[in-house]
């Protein structure tokens, strides 16, 4: 009854609020009705092109997703060994889910993700036991999105710490070189940085190292992410009061001890939410690799849309891909919320 009264107060307290509520209710119900009509009631779920085409103006054709889900999920990977992309994607997803559910955030999460990254890469690449070797240019789909997201954070974090500490160092050379590195990566658009890497890397290495696109993109994302993360970490480091460090020095702590036992634990707790936000934004920005010629989730959707027959059903495909991205981002954001709540309870931040 109390909630009912509260709801009544919120919805119909005033005549113009009542009017607006009714108007918005009617419009939203109309929109929801139309959307459900299009997406569920009139939709076709069979991958029969003729039925889908007859139904084109009336309802959605989820048959497109059903027909092309293999292409969307693992793009050009050889189809007779398609269990490997699924397995390696699961190896990347399950530890993430485990960490989210357990609300874990410590040094062990770092190693869990590192191990899962390495394992998933070797399962994709093969070349040992009974697994045949697959070239890295066939990597794609959901694996690539997840791998870039996780890998660039795992390797980017130590690099970012290094950059953040060197930005505060007393040595002018170290300080300025780190500042220039960070500012270049933050000043350029992400996609421009990717292009620069893709164009410049072969020029520098010439033929001495035969780097392919996959590694170049991974390195580019690690550097990019390190630059962005280092700014977050630096603001965390600067927010620690200097009297803590002075008192640690008076207790004869070494520099290494001060960093590991005093600065870092506080920085990671304080800057936890921005760090996860950066993870989410890197996850979203990994779509850009489809511009430079790797097929991530969006790129492989474009690959699937290359079939001129099914091309008219692009809306369904994009909704499907967007829903997957939404899900990943949402899971990570829920994790951020829950862990920061836990920190709030423990440390009273």
């Amino acid at each position: 009854m109390k909630t009912f009264l509260k709801l009544k107060d919120a919805l119909f307290s005033n005549w113009h609020i009542t009017f607006l509520t009714i108007c918005s209710l009617i419009t939203s119900f109309y929109i929801i009705y139309e959307i459900s009509l299009w997406s569920i009631i009139n939709a076709t779920f069979i991958n029969d092109f003729q039925i889908c085409k007859d139904n084109f103006n009336i309802g959605a054709c989820w048959g497109f997703v059903y027909e092309k889900w293999e292409t969307i999920f693992y793009s050009q990977y050889p189809t007779h060994i398609s269990f490997r992309p699924i397995l390696s994607s699961l190896i990347l997803i399950l530890p993430l889910l485990y960490i989210v559910i357990k609300k874990k955030f410590d040094i062990s999460t770092f190693f869990i993700l590192l191990v899962s990254c390495i394992l998933s890469y070797f399962i994709m690449a093969g070349g040992f036991f009974f697994l045949e070797n697959v070239d890295t240019r066939y990597f794609g789909g959901i694996f690539l999105t997840l791998f870039i997201g996780v890998f660039s954070n795992i390797l980017g974090l130590p690099l970012a710490l290094l950059l953040a500490f060197s930005r505060n160092s007393n040595n002018i050379f170290v300080r300025y070189s780190s500042a220039i590195f960070v500012e270049i990566f933050r000043g350029l658009p992400l996609i421009a940085t990717l292009f620069v890497f893709v164009i410049i890397f072969p020029l520098i290495t010439q033929d001495s190292i035969n780097l392919d696109m996959f590694f170049i993109i991974c390195i580019a994302f690690v550097f990019l992410n390190a630059a962005y993360l280092s700014e977050i970490l630096r603001s965390g480091i600067n927010s620690i009061p200097s009297n803590q460090i002075h008192s640690a020095k008076s207790l004869n702590f070494s520099k290494y001890q001060i960093i590991c036992n005093i600065i870092l634990p506080q920085v990671f707790v304080k800057m936890f939410t921005p760090l996860v936000n950066q993870f989410v934004s890197i996850m979203k920005e990994s779509t850009l690799v489809s511009v430079v010629g790797m097929f991530d989730l969006l790129g492989s959707l474009n690959l699937a849309l290359g079939d001129s027959q099914w091309r008219i059903f692009y809306i369904e495909g994009i909704i499907f891909v967007a829903a997957i991205y939404w899900l990943f981002c949402k899971i990570l954001l829920i994790y951020a919320d829950r862990v920061s709540e836990k920190f709030y309870k423990e440390y009273r931040l």
Partner: protein, 248 residues
């Protein structure tokens, strides 16, 4: 050649910034309205847009507009000499070298006027929709954190609700939010380089083109980097100027 790219980039980001501000303001007004259903709707919209990559939105709008415009076989005249829709986009009158040029139907296609291509429309719309979600959050948090005394004193001076909103709340909040707002605008400007994915001739596309034609990789890339740096730098200078000016 790079100059044309720069002009196109600025054109896209300028219009997208205006649209973003309008959309973001509308969404944030929905969010702070005391009407529960409108709040939920705007929360849902913001939450959905925020968690979808910007490139997905741009590709979606590009496919939609491209489909729409390529299906037009004969040019359609909406308003004579003012608005013509054809395969190449929307044509409107424009000033070229101080002379107004009106679009006209000629024997082969359209002469005169300015073509607004489907790439331009989809890039602008995609960018502005994506950024508006972030901008809306900034606006609504600023309006929520608005001191209550100001509202009370405004109502004691017999301001109506809308007068309070437009003459007190919004001007005051603009001062607080301008750093984060300009940050989002710089992000938008940098994201406009995604036009390379849909074939809009902006700075990055043009740089790539000039690398392919001239082979001078390092020079072209450094000019591009310099231009982006200058753009972001001047935007932040402008920000500093406005914050200093609006200091109380």
């Amino acid at each position: 050649m790079l100059f044309i790219g720069l002009v196109n980039t600025i054109r896209v980001s300028f219009i997208a910034i205006i649209l973003t501000t309008i959309f973001g303001l509308a969404l944030s007004l929905l969010q702070i309205s005391k009407i529960l259903i409108l709040e939920k709707i705007s929360f849902f919209i913001i939450d959905t847009i925020k968690n979808i990559p910007v490139y997905v939105i741009i590709i979606f709008s590009f496919l939609t507009f491209n489909n729409f415009f390529t299906n037009i076989i004969n040019p359609v005249v909406i308003i004579e000499n003012v608005l013509i829709i054809s395969r190449s986009g929307i044509t409107i009158p424009w000033i070229f070298e101080f002379v107004v040029s009106y679009p006209e139907l000629a024997r082969f296609g359209i002469t005169g006027g300015l073509d607004i291509t489907p790439e331009f429309i989809s890039l602008t719309l995609g960018l502005s929709i994506y950024t508006s979600a972030f901008v809306a959050d900034i606006f609504s948090s600023a309006i929520r954190s608005f001191p209550k005394d100001f509202r009370d004193s405004a109502s004691s001076l017999n301001f109506t609700k809308y007068q309070t909103l437009f003459f007190i709340v919004i001007p005051y909040s603009f001062r607080i939010i301008s750093p984060s707002l300009v940050n989002q605008y710089i992000n938008l400007l940098k994201n406009s380089s995604l036009g390379v994915g849909i074939g809009y001739p902006e700075l990055l596309t043009v740089t790539q083109l000039s690398i392919n034609t001239t082979g001078k990789t390092v020079e072209a890339i450094s000019i591009m980097a310099l231009i982006y740096f200058i753009l972001s730098y001047f935007t932040s200078l402008f920000l500093n100027y406005t914050t200093n000016k609006s200091k109380i």
